[in-house]
C-alpha cells in the first residue's frame, strides 16, 4: 500500500489528474454493470425483445424503488431469509457435528461415505413432493429443503477439515497434557475452521436458492411465491424487480460471509496479506 499511496501522491503533486489506482477496478466493475443495463434498455426500447415479457430496466428499477418503501417486499424478504437462516442453521449443526465425528473416527467415515455419495447428487428439488407430504406447503417445507441441500457442503468440508489436522499440532497439545475438550476447542476446531467456513459460504448460497425455489414451486410465502404471483397476474416489472432483489440478497449474503471469514481467519495463509 505504501508504494501505491506514494505513487498517487506524486501524481497529484505533479498536477497529473489520472485515476488513482485503487479506484480503477471499482470503475471497471461499475462500467460493466452500466454497460449491461444500457444494453438491456436498448433491446427493450427498440422492440427487439417484447417489453410485455421483458420490460425496460428503467421500468423495473422504478418498480423496485416503489416496492422498496412497501411493507410487502420487506415481509417477503424476511420470510425468505427465515427459511434460509433456519435451513443453514440446521445444516451447520448436523453437517459440522456429523462431519467432525466422521473425520475423527474412521468407522463412521467409511459407514457414512456411501450414504453421502448417494444422497448428495440427488437434485434437491426432486425432494419437494416429499417435503409437501411431510410438512405441507409452508415454512417447514422451505426449511427442510434448504437444510437438506445445505448440509452436504458443510458435512464434507468439516470431515476433510478434521482429517487435515496436522498431527504435530495435536501431539504438541498432548505433550503438554491439554485435556481432550480443550484440545477439541483450541486446536481441532480452529484448525478445521477454514474448511468449515468455506462449506458454510457455499451452503449459504445453496440454502437461499432452495428457499426461493420452494416458495416458487409450492407457494410457500416469500420472495419466490410473490415472483410467481407477479408473473401470473401480468406484472412483469414487479416480477423482475423481485428477481433483482433475490439476486441482491444472494450477493449481500456472500459479501457478509467473505467478510466474516476474512476477520475470523486472519491467521490463515489465504488471508495473511490482507491482515498485514
Amino acid at each position: 500500500m505504501v508504494g501505491i499511496v506514494s505513487t498517487a501522491a506524486r501524481a497529484s503533486a505533479q498536477g497529473d489528474f489520472s485515476i488513482p489506482p485503487w479506484l480503477l477496478p471499482l470503475l471497471q466493475r461499475l462500467a460493466g454493470v452500466a454497460g449491461i443495463l444500457a444494453l438491456l434498455e436498448l433491446i427493450t426500447r427498440t422492440g427487439i425483445v417484447n417489453p410485455r415479457y421483458f420490460p425496460p430496466m428503467s421500468t423495473v428499477f422504478a418498480r423496485l424503488a416503489e416496492e422498496a418503501v412497501s411493507a410487502r417486499l420487506w415481509s417477503d424478504v424476511l420470510l425468505t431469509l427465515q427459511g434460509w437462516a433456519a435451513g443453514l442453521g440446521i445444516a451447520t449443526l448436523v453437517g459440522v457435528l456429523l462431519g467432525m465425528v466422521a473425520g475423527l473416527w474412521d468407522p463412521v467415515f467409511h459407514g457414512l461415505r456411501p450414504i453421502v455419495e448417494f444422497l448428495r447428487p440427488v437434485p434437491s428439488v426432486a425432494l419437494i413432493p416429499l417435503a409437501i407430504l411431510m410438512f405441507g406447503a409452508g415454512m417447514e417445507s422451505k426449511i427442510f429443503m434448504a437444510a437438506f441441500a445445505a448440509t452436504w457442503p458443510i458435512l464434507i468440508q468439516s470431515m476433510y477439515g478434521v482429517r487435515d489436522l496436522d498431527p504435530v499440532q495435536m501431539e504438541t497439545a498432548r505433550s503438554y497434557r491439554i485435556p481432550g475438550p480443550m484440545r477439541f476447542r483450541r486446536v481441532l476446531l480452529p484448525s478445521a475452521l477454514p474448511y468449515i467456513a468455506t462449506g458454510m459460504r457455499v451452503s449459504s448460497a445453496t440454502a437461499l436458492a432452495l428457499a426461493v425455489s420452494t416458495e416458487l414451486i409450492i407457494g410457500a410465502p416469500g420472495l419466490g411465491q410473490t415472483i410467481n404471483i407477479a408473473r401470473a397476474s401480468g406484472a412483469p416489472d414487479l416480477m423482475y424487480a423481485l428477481i433483482v432483489v433475490a439476486g441482491l440478497l444472494g450477493w449481500l449474503l456472500n459479501i457478509v460471509f467473505v467478510r466474516v471469514e476474512g476477520s475470523l481467519l486472519r491467521w490463515h495463509p489465504t488471508y495473511r496479506e490482507v491482515a498485514q
Partner: protein, 294 residues
Amino acid sequence: MSTTANPELGIAVPGGLPEPSARLLLDVCGLAKTYGTGAEATQAIADISFGVREGELVCIVGPSGCGKTTLLRSMSGLLTPTSGTVSLLGDPVTAPPATMALVFQDYSRSLYPWMKVAKNVEFPLRRMRLGSQERRERVIGALESVGLAGFADKYPWQLSGGMQQRVAIARALAYRPEILLMDEPFASVDAQTRAELEDLVLDLRHQYGVTVVFVTHDIDESVYLADRVVILSSRPTVVKEVLDIDLPRPRHQVHTKELPEFARLRSYVFEEIMNSKAPDADNAAAGEAEAEHG
C-alpha cells in the same frame, strides 16, 4: 577426558561430569520399538538403555534414519514402546509427564498459527491452576529469556524461523519443566541462527536449572552442547557408546571449537557413526532378502 563405553547404562556413570552425585532423573531401559507386524515389520529400535541425571545436558546423536525421533517420542510417553521401559524418577512413563516439556523440530507445525505469540506460550498453562497474574508473569518472563519480549502480540508466522523456534522454547520454559526434550530443534534454521540458539539453550539451562535431552544429527552440535553424548547405531538401533564431554564451560562458539580436544571428540563421534553405517547397510539388505524368502 574419559570416554566411557558403557553397555549397561541406566546407572550413573562416574567421570568428569558437573554433578556426579546428582540423582538419576530419566532412565531408559531396554527400549525397543517395532512398527508393523509379520513380514512387513520394521524394527526401528532394537535395544536402547541409558540414564540422564538431574541437571545434565545429554545429546543423542546418530546416523539419519536411526530412530532418534521414535526414541524421543517413546521417552516423552507419546509413543508406547514394543518393549522396555522409560521411567522418570522411578515412575514409569506411559503418558506425557507433568514435569516434562517437548520442543519439536518443526516449529511451523508445533506453534498454533491462530494464536498470537503470547497465547501460544500461555496455552499449556491454561489447564494449570495458576492465578492470571502468575500466568502472565511466566509468559512475559519466558519471552524475555529467549529475547522476544516485544513480540507477544505478533503471530508466529510473522516471525523468522529462528524466532519461531525461540517461541517454542519459551512455551516450554513457561511450563517450568524439570526435563526438556528437544527433537532436532535447530535442524531447519541457518547456521548463524543455529549458533545463537545453541548458546541460548546453554544459558537457559543454567537460568532455569533444567535437565536437557537434545536429539540431533549434527555431530559438532552434540559435542559443543553436551555433558555426555549418547551415540546411536543405525537401524535396528542400539547404543554404540556413551561419551563424556569434558570440554571446559562456559562453552564458546569460537574458542571451544578451536580446542584440540573438541576436534578429537568430534572426529571420534564422526567415526563411530560412520562405522555403524556400513555393516548395517548389509544387514538391511540381508533382512529384506530374508523377508522375501519368508
